[in-house]
């Protein structure tokens, strides 16, 4: 069977909500049924067939071709299957994603992996702000799953993150790990200002030492055996993180202003 493919017909002027176009919601639906599904486009409602050319039949694997950064909520509430985006995607990619896999070959707007619960999200280029954060009004961000960013990430990565793993091969912006509750964020590039701001718990695994504020305290250089378990879990992913082996790290703890017990580990210390 061929992957169920949505090819965008024209350039989008407004955002389109793609949350209904997931493997689990399209399971056992015919091409005709899918073409007649209504989607929100700006402040109006259109049919899928108005925006996309729909081909293929395997709803377990959905492909978006010629996509746009105005295509929001791709993979929202996804609980099975795979989505491939051959280009850029909009905001809220993988919103509340529960299982399955999303692969975006381009860049993604803000709030990717927002409220994510499980599954694997891979972005080959850059991602906007609030990666793995919680949606407005929620006190918890990402609660599980794995996110791999091949490029750079914006500000507030993992804001209020509760659980899960974010691996960024490039740089991360300001306030990385802000208000983080638990989980792990790895960054191989540089991070911006105010890293670990109001961090409660969790781990920031950094290649380069950032400029840390006064309420993040140096605990010295140590060999941490648990890193072997963590690095072992990276092995299955296609990322430079899978090459990490040294358990020797410099450990910072904070944010003391928040009575936080989060840790920043600087690799290869």
């Amino acid at each position: 069977m061929n992957a169920l493919t949505f090819t965008l017909k024209n350039t989008l002027n407004f955002s389109v909500n793609c949350s209904v176009l997931t493997p689990n919601s399209l399971e056992n639906k015919s091409i005709t049924d899918i073409a007649n599904i209504k989607v929100t486009y700006g402040n109006s409602t259109l049919l899928v067939s108005d925006l996309f050319e729909v081909t293929g039949s395997d709803s377990a694997h959905i492909v978006f071709k010629n996509p746009s950064n105005k295509m929001d909520y791709i993979g929202a509430n996804m609980s099975s299957g795979k989505i491939t985006i051959e280009g850029n995607a909009g905001a809220y990619l993988g919103f509340t994603m529960k299982s399955g896999e999303i692969h975006c070959t381009g860049s993604v707007e803000s709030y990717a992996a927002c409220n994510m619960v499980g599954g694997l999200l891979t972005i080959d280029a850059n991602v906007g702000d609030f990666l793995g954060a919680g949606s407005e009004g929620l006190r918890k961000g990402m609660r599980g799953g794995t996110v791999i960013i091949k490029g750079n990430a914006g500000d507030r990565v993992g804001d209020q993150m509760r659980r899960g793993l974010i691996l960024i091969e490039g740089n991360a912006g300001d306030y990385c790990g802000s208000r983080m509750i638990a989980g792990t964020i790895g960054v191989l590039g540089n991070v911006g200002a105010y890293t670990a701001f109001n961090m409660h718990r969790g781990t920031l695994l950094l290649k380069n030492t950032p400029s840390l504020h006064a309420t993040v305290q140096d605990c010295g250089t140590h060999t941490l055996p648990y890193l072997s378990l963590l690095f072992k879990s990276f092995k299955k992913h296609n990322t430079p993180f899978s090459q990490l082996s040294s358990q020797r790290v410099q450990r910072f703890v904070g944010d003391a202003a928040y009575k936080g017990n989060g840790e920043i580990l600087i690799l290869n210390a």
Partner: protein, 304 residues
């Protein structure tokens, strides 16, 4: 029917075993020396549920690629008559033997529908500085200690198991009985999923149920005591001067049966010059334990 294996008589009898609850824990450390220190402490004073609460032993050494953290380690098996005792004993021994042992870490060694605490409660030793990590669906606790960090998985599995498989080695002298037992233990150590919980794997004080003393619910197995041959209803012929018992606990019936077969065959391979005359087994008439390990069937490969 009479069975002889390389001139050694195999009694037409059976070992009688009981249902138990079991678990496996993987203990790793900086090197095998410290893994064994931790494991030996954890499985110390765990020969019999009668007085120790649990029966425990080292199952085998693990290669670095077999352990979760890639360090040298050993796996231990622990058995108890009930889940409550097993949980209590495991937590106590984790706290006093593994937490305290330099560089040691503990991980679940078995999956099971029932989960029991490994580090779930021990984490409070961290006094608020403990942190957890959920890695590949398993929760680990990192507890800061004076040598660095103590790592333990939160829970391990608890499974239904069998305890009390056994056989008796009847020989013409004490050295002969012990030498044969040692050969059997070395062979049985290669069988997975079983332990021989007594010192060196061998027990010299097999017991019978009951006693002339009201406070004792088990007492010496006088029928197999060589110095009482003339004083009791003995099971021993005149030339038998010493009897050693090997007790086996295992995860399944098949594991114990295989272990018994390997052990008995190792002894019988020694032949008549070993001084071993008979192999027998301890039982209670088949009335107490639901699992009967018939020696002839085990050696014929037809036990089930």
């Amino acid at each position: 029917m009479m069975m002889l294996l390389n001139t050694i008589q195999i009694d037409d009898t059976f070992a009688e075993a009981f249902n138990m609850r079991g678990t496996r824990v993987i203990i790793t450390a900086q090197n095998l020396k410290w893994a064994y220190h931790a494991a030996n402490a954890m499985t110390g004073f765990a020969t019999s549920v009668i007085g120790c609460g649990v029966e425990a032993g080292i199952e085998r050494e693990l290669r670095t690629e077999e352990t979760p953290d890639g360090r040298p380690g050993v796996s231990i098996l622990m058995f108890a008559m009930g889940s409550k005792v097993l949980m209590q004993q495991l937590e106590t021994r984790m706290g006093q033997c593994i937490l305290t042992c330099p560089t040691a870490a503990a991980f679940s060694g078995i999956d099971g529908e029932d989960k029991i605490s490994l580090g779930k409660h021990l984490r409070y030793f961290g006094d608020g500085f403990q942190t957890s990590k959920l890695i590949d669906g398993k929760r680990y606790w990192r507890i800061p200690v004076m040598d660095g960090e103590f790592i333990t998985e939160e829970t391990t599995g608890m499974v239904r198991a069998i305890g009390g498989g056994n056989f008796l080695i009847l020989a013409t002298s004490q050295p002969a009985a012990l030498a044969a037992a040692e050969v059997a233990i070395e062979a049985m150590k290669k069988v997975p999923n079983v332990i021989m919980p007594f010192p060196g794997g061998v027990v010299r004080s097999g017991s019978k149920v009951g006693s002339k003393y009201k406070t004792m619910f088990a007492s010496t197995n006088d029928a197999f005591c060589p110095t009482l041959k003339g004083a009791t209803n003995t099971e021993l012929s005149p030339e038998i001067e010493s009897v050693m018992e090997i007790v086996i606990d295992g995860l399944t019936f098949e594991d114990i049966a295989l272990s018994m077969k390997v052990g008995i065959e190792a002894i019988c391979n020694l032949g008549a010059e070993s001084g071993v005359k008979r192999i027998s087994a301890g039982n209670y008439g088949g009335k107490l334990g639901p699992h009967l390990f018939k020696l002839h069937d085990i050696l014929n490969g037809s036990n089930s």
